[in-house]
Amino acid sequence: MARRRPQLTKVARAEERAAWLFLAPSLVLFAIFTAIPVISAFFISFTQWNLFNEVTWVGLGNYIALAHDEIFAKVLGNTGYFVLVSVPVQIALALACALALNRGLKGQTFFRVVYFLPVVTSTIAAALVWAWLFNSNFGLINAGLSLVGVTDLPKWMGSTRWAMPAIIIVSIWQNLGYAMVLFLAGLQNIGKDVHDAAALDGATGWDRFWHITLPLLSPTTFFVLVISIIGSFQVFELVLVMTKAGPANATNTLVYYIYQNGFQFYQMGYASAAAMVLFLIVLAFTLVQYKLQRRWVHYG
């Protein structure tokens, strides 16, 4: 029998064996809890299954049903609304905070910690407090609004118009600190000498921001953008605690819809198809951003 591969030396073979031994625990867990489930999810999305009856193969049935599902269309629209509003606002605010907290102001460490605290808090605990703050009968927010003279107080979570903005506000509050920390790390990567040199050349603050800071920060901005978009597409806990997708599905989002179909209606096939749609959207967005990054991301 001819050997196609060149013979490995004894040492190299030992190293190879060691490598697989070191990988074994992680590989087994990866296969069981990630690789096989991803493939299974793909196949389950072509079936009808409620966990108790026989599995029925329905081909593209679930996907066709999703395409005709009015609630799903609404869910996609809501998720898009959430992503389109929360991501840009969050990034702009985070960048502003990072710039402000990178100037060596008094109390800067204190501010950084306070702004970051919501990030480590569980979304459930945060959502519970905010649900209470936004309560239209006895919440602090409407109390504050009526104090400054607003008479037509929004019903927040009880209104199809204001429920989503309420969720967006909480999401921005919670995730702002994460993006801020990333921007701070990015700003610290930009040497002070670059700014000093530019200042010597007579560049004003705004000039320096637009022509030096922003371009040099673009790899960080790119990372924050990708992470924020991926994260926003998966909003779930805020919806669960604050509105339970209501009123009239006004705040139903992709992941909440997956949860509803899978774990409340036990439609595993339908839920899996929705999960595959989520996967494809996230994948498409990330790939498009990688393509576009060449136009605006400058690596030093």
Partner: protein, 274 residues
């Protein structure tokens, strides 16, 4: 002069921002001491004249919250330890050893970072249910005993360890296990610390998986127990806020003591990946 005025304005703006950011926490703590009736007053009070310390006893007697906190602790600590072991072993292989298929396998691990966890949720749930692992610790822990993120983070760090160090040890006759234990792990302490804190916090706050794989109140983790306290019709808000205060204490402790390492864990992805 101009600069100091700008800084002054900035300081005031940041202070208002800090009030907005910390306000909900203050509100949470303030409400946890209120008598139930005071919660529905309009306009609301911030600090109650009649503080109810009893809320902090009631939360443990109304629901098995002590048990839930213990469950959270057991699950989070074990998940963290297991991830440190499995991720560091895999990272050692990826960063320091040569084997066929290394690049391809690493790419597969990286690709897994892109998969939303909701995609694997249903198959994993079906598997846990089939195994009879609903309401068990292994069901809560094992799916998280490994992570692509942790492997990636540690591999990036291990890549920076000079190869000469390990080669010298090889020449002295050290086995791979010895090199991993006596050279690599001690040198990787900062990265391991970052991963540990990051994993603990993420696991403590993990909600959807424990929600669907536990049915008995005795097996619930703290965060799930909190969510179930929010009733359909009547919500005991002071009790809920008391539970929320208690449930974030462990995370705050970890964050305060491991602030630096935690931030390192968060920002590695942004800059280590290049």
């Amino acid at each position: 002069m101009g600069k100091s005025v700008t800084d002054w304005v900035l300081f005031v703006v940041l202070l208002i921002g800090a009030l907005l950011m910390s306000g909900p926490f203050v509100w949470m703590i303030a409400t946890s001491f209120k008598p139930a009736a005071e919660v529905f007053q309009f306009p609301p009070t911030l600090f109650t004249a009649d503080p109810q310390v009893d809320n902090y006893r009631r939360i443990f007697t109304t629901i098995p919250f002590g048990r839930a906190m213990a469950n959270s602790l057991v699950v989070s600590v074990l998940v963290t330890l297991l991830q440190l072991i499995t991720c560091s072993m895999a990272a050692y292989a990826f960063a320091c050893l040569r084997f066929r298929g290394r690049e391809a396998l690493f790419l597969i691990y990286l690709a897994a970072l892109m998969v939303p966890s909701q995609v694997t949720l249903i198959p994993n749930f079906i598997m846990i249910k089939t195994l009879g692992w609903i309401d068990t610790y292994q069901g809560l822990i094992l799916p998280y005993a490994f992570s692509s993120f942790g492997t990636f983070l540690l591999r990036q760090y291990l890549k920076s360890i000079p190869a000469e160090l390990m080669e010298a040890a090889r020449i002295d006759g050290a086995s791979h296990a010895q090199i991993y234990l006596t050279i690599v792990l001690p040198l990787a302490k900062p990265a391991l610390g970052a991963l540990a804190i990051f994993t603990f916090v993420a696991q403590w706050n993990n909600f959807l998986w424990p929600l669907i794989t536990t049915t008995k109140p005795d097996m619930q983790v703290a965060i799930v127990a909190l969510a179930t306290l929010q009733g359909q019709y009547n919500t005991d808000w002071p009790l809920l806020m008391t539970g929320s205060v208690i449930a974030i204490v462990p995370v705050l402790l970890v964050f305060v003591f491991g602030n630096r390492a935690f931030i390192a864990g968060l920002t590695t992805g942004a800059f280590g990946g290049r």
